[in-house]
Subunit: 371 residues, 2 copies
Amino acid sequence: MDSGLRADTTFGARAERPVGLRTVDLLEYLEECRALVVDEIRRLVPRNPRYGPILYDLMLEYPLRHAKGLRPALCIATCRAFGGGLEPSLRSAATLELYHNAFLIHDDVEDGSELRRGHPTLHRLHGIPIAVNVGDAMLALALQPLLDNTAQVGLGKALRVLQIVARMARASAEGQALELSWAREGRWLVSDADYARMVYRKTSWYTFIAPVLIGGVLAGASPSQLGTLRGFAAALGIAFQIQDDVLNLTADPERYGKELCGDLWEGKHTLVLLHLLRVVEPDARTWIETVLRKARPGTAPPGRATKSTTDIATLRGLIEGHGSVHYARRAARRWTERACRQLGRATATLSASVHRDLLWGLVDFVVDRDH
Amino acid sequence: MDSGLRADTTFGARAERPVGLRTVDLLEYLEECRALVVDEIRRLVPRNPRYGPILYDLMLEYPLRHAKGLRPALCIATCRAFGGGLEPSLRSAATLELYHNAFLIHDDVEDGSELRRGHPTLHRLHGIPIAVNVGDAMLALALQPLLDNTAQVGLGKALRVLQIVARMARASAEGQALELSWAREGRWLVSDADYARMVYRKTSWYTFIAPVLIGGVLAGASPSQLGTLRGFAAALGIAFQIQDDVLNLTADPERYGKELCGDLWEGKHTLVLLHLLRVVEPDARTWIETVLRKARPGTAPPGRATKSTTDIATLRGLIEGHGSVHYARRAARRWTERACRQLGRATATLSASVHRDLLWGLVDFVVDRDH
C-alpha cells in the first residue's frame, strides 16, 4: 500500500482551495494510518496472560474491529502538513485511539448500545463490570506513551500534548453529561445552537480538535495556526456528528456496522429528531415525547413501558414527512463550509503536500461518506 | 484543630521503633488532612451550572461523605517526614483523592454495591450511565493539577508523580480484572499468595503505595528510601484489605458505613472466605460455592437463582465455626509486622517528627480500627 503517507515531496503551490484527495486516495491514506496505529497499540498493550482474557485482550477488541481511522489520520496528516515527522505523531495518534476506544466502551454502557462496528458491544459480550474496568484500564494505559513522549519530543511539547488530552477528556465527559441530563429531564426543546454546544464537547473535541491540535503542537505550528486549526476541527466535528445522525436513519445496513435507527431506540438527541419536534403539530409532539420516554425493550425495569417496532416505524415516517433528514443534511453542509474557511486560513502558508490535501479531502468525506 | 500537622519542629532522635501517634492524635491528624484536601477538591471542581447537577456537583458527593482520609494523610505525612513542605503535597493528595473516589464510583457499579460511606452508592442514586460518566470526568479532572504541578515542584518531579499515577491506575484495573476473572470463572481455590497479589494491585497501589511514593518523590527521598517506602506501603495495604474483609463481617453496623456482609452478598474473594473454602468438608464446600454463584436479589436477570438471608446467615455460621475470622486477623498482623520492618528501614535516618510518628501510628491503626 502506498498512499504517499511517507512521502516528504511537496507539489509546489496550488490553487487557493486545494481540491483535496480523491476518495480512493483518501481511504488509502486513512487505512494506512490506521494500520500503523493498530501496530502501535499492539505494542502498547501488554501481553500478560494473568489478566489477559478479561483485561488486555479486551483492550484490542474495539481497535481491531473495522473502523475509519479518522483520528489517527487527522493527527498524523496535521503534523506532517505542518512540517513534522511521522514517528512523533504516531505515538500520540495511538494514545488518542486508546482514549477514543475507552470512551466508546463507556459510552456504549451509558447508552445501552447493542452494536459497535458490526459486532456486539463489549458490555453485551462480557457484562458491564468487565466493560467499565477495561475502559478504565485503557485510560490508564494511554497515559504511559504520553509520558514516555518526553524523550522523543521534549518536555515542553510532551506537557502540551498532555494538557490537550486532559482538556479533551473533560470536554467529552461534559458533552456526555449534557446529553444525559437532557435525557433525564426529558428535555426535547433543544435549539440547534444547544445541540452544537453539546456535540462540540461530546464529539468535536476528541475526534477532531485534539488530533489536529496535537499534530500541530508536535510540528511546532504557531499559536494563530493552532487557533484556526481548532476552529476547523470544531466545525468539522459538528458536521460529522450531524452526518452520523443522518446515517443512523438512512445508511445501508450492510455497510453501516451500528444498529440502524439505534438513536431512535436509545432516544438520543439528534439534530434530525430535534428538528422534527420543533416542526410537528403539538399532538404529534406529545406522542413523540411519550415514545421517547419509553425504555428500549430488554433494558427496562419490569413495569416500565417499552418502545415497539411500530413506534419506531411511525417515528421514521414522521421524520421523512417533515423533511428533517434534508434539514440536517443542509446544516451539515453549512458546518463544513465554516470548516473550509478555517482550514484555508490555517493552511494558507503551507506547501502543498498529500498531507495538506488529506485535510481538505476529509471535509468532503465527512458529509459524503455512506457509513 | 491543631494536630501538629503544620509544625516543623522535630523532637530529636527517638527509640528504634517510635511509638507512633496515639489514636486520638492520629485521628485528629487524619481529619485535618482530610479537611485540607476537601477544600482543595472544592477548588479543583468547577462550579458550572450547565453541567452542575449531574456532573460537577456529583463529583463532590463521595469526597464530602465521612471518610478516614488515609490517602491524603499518607501523602502529606510522608512528604513532611522526609523534609518536604505541606503545599506541594496537598495538591497531589487532592488528586489522589479524586482518583480514589472515581475508582470507588466505578467499583461500586462493577460490584453492584448498595452503600458507600453510609449512603446509597452513586449509581443507586443516579443510575449507571451518570455514575460511569462522573467517574470518567473525575479521572480527567484529576490530571489537570498534576500538570499544573510543574510550576510548583518543577518538571522532573511533576513527571515522576504522573508516572506513579499512571502506574497506580493500571495496577488498580489489573487488580479489579483479577478479581472479576475469578468471579466469572467461579474460581474459589485461591491461595493466600494469589489473594495478596490481587490486593497488592487492587488496594495497596492506590491507597498506600502511590500516596507514600508521591510524598517521598516530592520531598526528594532517595531511591533506596523510596524502595523501602514502597515495601512498607505494599504490606500495609494488604493488612488493611484483610482488616476490611474482617470488618465487613464483624463491624458495628452503626459505625460501619458500608453494607454489613456485603462481601458475602456480592460473592467477593475475601481472605476469610478463601480460608473457609480451604478448610470445610467437600460437601459444605460444594454448598458454599453454589450459594456464591447465586446472584444477589434485585440484580439478577429473571430466572437466575438468588441468595437468601438464610444462605448468608448459614455462611456466617460456617465462618465462625471454622475460625476463619481469627485466621484472617492473624494474617493481617503478619503483614503489619512486615510493614514495620520496612518502615523502620525507610525512616531510620529521619529526625523524629509528628509526621514520622503518624506513619508509625497508622500501622497499628490499620488493624485496630473498628470501621
